[in-house]
């Protein structure tokens, strides 16, 4: 698998605000994302995860370090406006607030905004828009007004707008944070489907632990750096470290951790409530059985 995003030793500081000192947001961040991967980035508020997203979308230029998108170095000195636009055609972003990223008043016209910017002929834009709306399951709402949709639906339209440009990779910057549980599920289902069925690389920034469990790989950020990296099962098994970093673990893991501390032998990396219940039942029965024998 080829590497779509490769970040090496990226640092970023926000410029000094009048008399104050510059604020360091990212410090020596290195990671890479392979094509087709689903990566979740976890972190506390202000840990630099949104700054990282903006750098990956080339909204901000990293102060130090190199970022390459699909093999092209975006931090090279001779980078042009055109190169950056080429990069943005490959990597898209869906933001937190659904209201602040929709440009048009009608769903399909908003989805068409990106392809229109690329200067495609009308028939091609039409095909892309129909495909994108179909993929996020919003075909029914193509002619609806955007402001009358629910939060989850608006986010799905924003996702359609991002994929209508046939992007290889989409970054979700806390795209589920402002939604109710129902909307969150809608959006998460759409994201996982994009990743599994359309093969689009997904970088999902979130502070919901159960969303991170759906990823192939989890990066945990703290104070501008990456402190943990690995499969969800590996990362969440380091429960105490996560707590020390001020982060939560999925509720199932927390429960299993308490069960383990009470002296039962259970695994921590189970995220499905049913399986978690089964695991605890197995552990409890096991000991009960053991007691009978003695």
């Amino acid at each position: 698998m080829s590497v779509i995003i490769n970040a090496e030793h990226i640092s970023y500081s926000y410029p000094a605000d009048e008399a104050e000192r510059p604020v360091e947001a990212l410090r020596d961040v290195s990671f890479s994302v392979a094509e087709g991967e689903f990566v979740a980035i976890l972190g506390h508020n202000g840990c630099g995860k949104s700054t990282l997203a903006k750098i990956l979308c080339m909204i901000l230029q990293p102060g130090e370090g190199t970022l390459s998108i699909d093999g092209k170095d975006m931090t090279a000195d001779d980078i042009t406006e055109e190169d950056i636009n080429q990069g943005r055609r490959k990597v898209g972003m869906v933001f937190q607030n659904p209201d602040n990223q929709l440009v048009a008043t009608i769903v399909e016209e908003d989805v068409a905004f990106g392809p229109e910017n690329l200067g495609y002929p009308p028939e091609k834009i039409r095909r892309r828009v129909d495909w994108a709306l179909e993929t996020v399951g919003m075909t029914k709402y193509a002619r609806h007004a955007t402001h009358r949709l629910s939060g989850g639906q608006k986010q799905r339209v924003a996702i359609a707008g991002a994929i209508a440009m046939h992007r290889k990779c989409i970054i979700f910057d806390e795209s589920t944070a402002m939604l109710d549980p129902h909307g969150r599920k809608e959006v998460m289902d759409t994201i996982t489907r994009l990743n599994r069925e359309e093969g689009i690389t997904v970088i999902h920034i979130t502070h919901y632990m159960n969303e991170a469990t759906m990823a192939d790989r989890v990066l945990v950020m703290q104070k501008g750096g990456i402190i943990m990296e690995g499969k969800p099962a590996e990362v969440f098994s380091r429960t105490e470290e996560l707590w020390a970093a001020g982060l939560d673990v999925p509720q199932t893991t927390e429960l299993l951790w308490h069960v383990r501390r009470a002296g039962y032998d259970v695994a921590l990396d189970i995220f499905d409530p049913e399986k978690c219940a089964a695991e605890i039942a197995r552990a409890l029965k096991g000991t009960a059985h053991g007691r009978d024998n003695t």
């Binding site: 636009n85 933001f95 440009v103 008043t105 068409a112 910017n117 495609y120 609806h144 402001h147």
Partner: protein
Amino acid sequence: MKADIAFGQYYEGNSFLHKLDPRWKILFVIFYIVVIFLAKNVFAFALLILSAVFLILISQIRLRTILRGLRPLIFIISFTALINIFWLKGETLLIDWWIFHIYLEGLINALLIVVRVVILVVGTSILLTYTTTPIALTDGLERLLSPLAKIHLPVHEFSMMMTIALRFIPTLVEETEKIMNAQKARGADFSTGSLVHRAKALIPILIPLFISAFRRAEELATAMECRCYTGGEGRTRMNVLHSGWRDLAALLALCALCAGVILLNIFASGYTLAL
């Protein structure tokens, strides 16, 4: 408050009017306004009323929606009507009491002016805003004005601004409501006291509204940049505008209406508008 913003909103539909080319529609509206102001005779006004009813019927928009769009104009309509009733002098005195002298001519004149304003609003909103998506509208405007781009007027930027403004009206109205409710919950009072007092009470609404609007603008700009927006150059559109037989039919109908109004103005003998 939300109900009051029917004016300036698009209603989905599939009528004859929805299918007209927005470029033509803009020209039709200008034409229609001219015709409305041409009408002087009561019979010409009757013809205008018929045309407005016809527009309402073919637009397939519910009458309730249209009436709701008129609600914000009640003040201005009644104001002009009252001025006409009390100030216009005529021949037939109806009421002569204290300082009030009301003439029959004043009443008719007031009625005609009210009809004119109502038709003006109903006609333009049905022709344009109710049956045209704001994007089609700004798109049409952009193309109508495109010759001006040759002399370096920012036509595309202007139409983009219009699109975004239209897009954010409902969002900001909703936000204003939220802020008002939040301030009310903290004991703010917007409905009593002197005018100055009430105006001052609006400041705590406007400041948060402006701050949030600026934040929204910044986020929207970032989002647009992420979607490869680099201005009007090299941009194409999904919906290509086509004019067809419908536009021709509408043009002919409008010409017929115009001719009818002019003929009635000249030949019909009825009350003629004084202003």
